[in-house]
Symmetry: C2
Subunit: 381 residues, 2 copies
């Protein structure tokens, strides 16, 4: 029995070859490094111009390599959705991390405190007095844990449900010697994808007035929040105009999936960001006129955002349908396909799609320039 060779070993041989992208085994997750770098630069410049700290959300890319690019461009650190994602970022030399979901269980809190010892600047949110008590008991006065109060903007997912609860929680944190009250988090998830700019502005004005009221109460109580963090790719310009947040958590701008490409991000229809993330696939069966089966299905793309957009490999107007775990159909009347034909897709929802892959294949034009591991893939706990 000869020794096994993985397709990643085989792909490594293609690095540096012009056209190497077209020789990859498929389906494969591809990121265009030139576009990615421009997106990162553009958001960093926006934040700097508006005097906002930028703490991009790593739940989008799950990559310490991309996190380090963001920090090199001016980001103060990153956000992580879960503890395991934060651990993966820390393993990749990222030293400032905000965990944006509460960590509530005993084994989770044990790992959280260990991570607080490992890196320079760990921050975590909470929305519950029992949780604050548990964090206080586990943390040490030698290196207090930095805690933010998570405020629910009406999603009912996480966050305190009233200004009174926010104030009480901030007081409880500030009084705990092993904790440090750092500020508040306010993530308006539902508003990010409101397609019309004017509707999004209206919604954010209402939401932000509520946040402002809480900040005013905290200030009056002598608990001024040093950090007021939130925002996303869909609202970052509005958040900057409204002037309450002082830190932005934008994530998807690095890749610009179909969901965000459907949104006007600036009010003038000109988006400063471009699509940098793709799935390259190939035709594996072509026995029916006007359609072809490609090798990318539920296991190649998350389905929660609907079907992907076909960018190349099929005539304009062609559509994709999921055909099970392993396959998708490209339907295009009058088109002729042959097995092996290359098809490039733009993904509908980037975060859970990235989570399906172990590697990014990083390209510049059609040259494979490197292969990055998706360090935080699967770190959902």
């Amino acid at each position: 029995m000869s020794s096994p060779v993985s397709d990643i070993d085989l792909h490594a041989h293609l690095i540096g070859q012009q056209g190497g992208r077209r020789a990859l085994n498929t389906p494969v997750l591809v990121v265009d490094i030139d576009v990615l770098a421009r997106n990162i630069q553009s958001m960093a410049a926006f934040a700097a111009e508006h005097g906002l700290a930028l703490r991009p959300h790593a739940k989008t890319h799950k990559s310490a390599d991309i996190a380090r690019m963001q920090i090199a461009a001016g980001a103060v650190g990153v956000c992580s959705a879960k503890l395991g994602e934060a651990e993966a970022m820390a393993n990749g030399e990222v030293d400032s991390i905000l965990i944006t979901s509460p960590v509530v269980t005993a084994p989770g809190i044990e790992r959280l405190i260990a991570l607080n010892q490992r890196i320079g600047d760990l921050r975590v949110v909470t929305d519950n007095p029992t949780n604050v008590q548990a964090l206080m008991n586990a943390a040490t006065t030698e290196k207090p844990l930095q805690v933010l109060v998570d405020i629910d903007p009406g999603i009912r997912r996480t966050g305190v449900a009233s200004p009174e609860a926010a104030l009480a929680l901030a007081k409880q944190i500030a009084a705990a010697p092993s904790l440090r009250f750092l500020g508040v988090q306010y993530y308006c998830g539902r508003e990010q994808h409101i397609e019309a700019w004017a509707d999004r502005v209206d919604a954010m004005k209402k939401r932000t007035a509520y946040l402002k009221g809480i900040v005013d109460q905290l200030n009056a109580a002598g608990l001024s929040p040093q950090v007021i963090t939130g925002g996303g790719t869909g609202t970052h310009r509005i958040d900057a105009d409204l002037g309450v947040l002082n830190e932005l958590q934008t994530g998807s701008y690095v890749f610009m999936d179909r969901q965000y490409n459907d949104c006007d991000l600036t009010g003038d229809g000109v988006t400063p960001f471009e699509t940098s993330l793709f799935v390259d696939a190939r035709v594996v069966s072509a026995n029916t006129p006007g359609m072809a089966t490609i090798d990318a299905g539920f296991k190649a793309m998350a389905t929660d955002g609907g079907p992907p957009t076909i960018l190349s490999g099929a005539p304009e107007g062609a559509v994709y349908h999921f055909m099970g775990d392993e396959h998708g159909a490209i339907v295009a009347a009058d088109a002729t396909f042959a097995i092996g034909d290359a098809v490039t897709l733009a993904v509908p929802h980037c975060d859970p799609t990235v989570n399906l892959y172990d590697h990014y294949h990083v390209v510049s034009h059609d040259t494979l320039v490197r292969i990055w591991p998706v360090q935080a893939r699967g770190r959902s706990r």
Copy 2:
């Protein structure tokens, strides 16, 4: 900076402890070894009783450990959906594998031939004369590649589209010195989930008559198929009754997800299989009366089959809603939840859910008995 410890390292310490399941970090993919073993035994007994070869589909579990349990119980080998999945099974000492999707690209065929040299009994399907030519050119006469003709039962996913095309392809394979014509594959994917037994029987009678016609033509042409493989958990009893298939590819019976639990598998409403696969989650936020947020969202469960069923941790009638990548809502009027509360879910569609996890946490009652890697997770190419 102290060295990182993964949650899997921490979980390993819980093996053998009664109640260890309840101390796991969540979300976690849990398989009940006792139920799993009964399901495996039950299908093996059914196949033996009916004189059918059993070649369970490993795309369901992606686990060489479960594959070896199936083979120990009498299976002749396994099916794999993709080449990478087959390579993972081979790395896990599985020696007989049928790849149920065509392998059409040059780098794929190179890996396929390497795998054929590594294991005793590799089989692959094809549906295209150009592909047969490429396989023939790559394979060697020292160890001919075993090839089956994939026949489309009307899904238009993969498979030849007519009896004439099936016959022509079988002739082309049989004439190639480096290939061996082994038989045909016929997977009626659409019929597996027809809920009413009588409707499923009617549909399979029609579909199987079409297959029988092709088999008759192959026999008449001196190309008798040694292997006639297909079937699934939803139709295996009907397939056995109809008597054309001689090998069953059932997959989901090992786990019994919600989609299959909604089907009558035997015609009398008594299913011989039980649910063995679960996602254990926990409440992370509980600030809204009548609902709670748990730590399992798009990254913990595939969404293509709808929401999961809540098995424990919430009152009867409680429902789950996806709340983004990391979270889900449990809605149950009048219920009271506290952070840290355990919730167990039955997954809607097992195959792509398993693909989200690196490990199975194997339990017997509430004791964690071992941790298995999901060896073929992410092997979509």
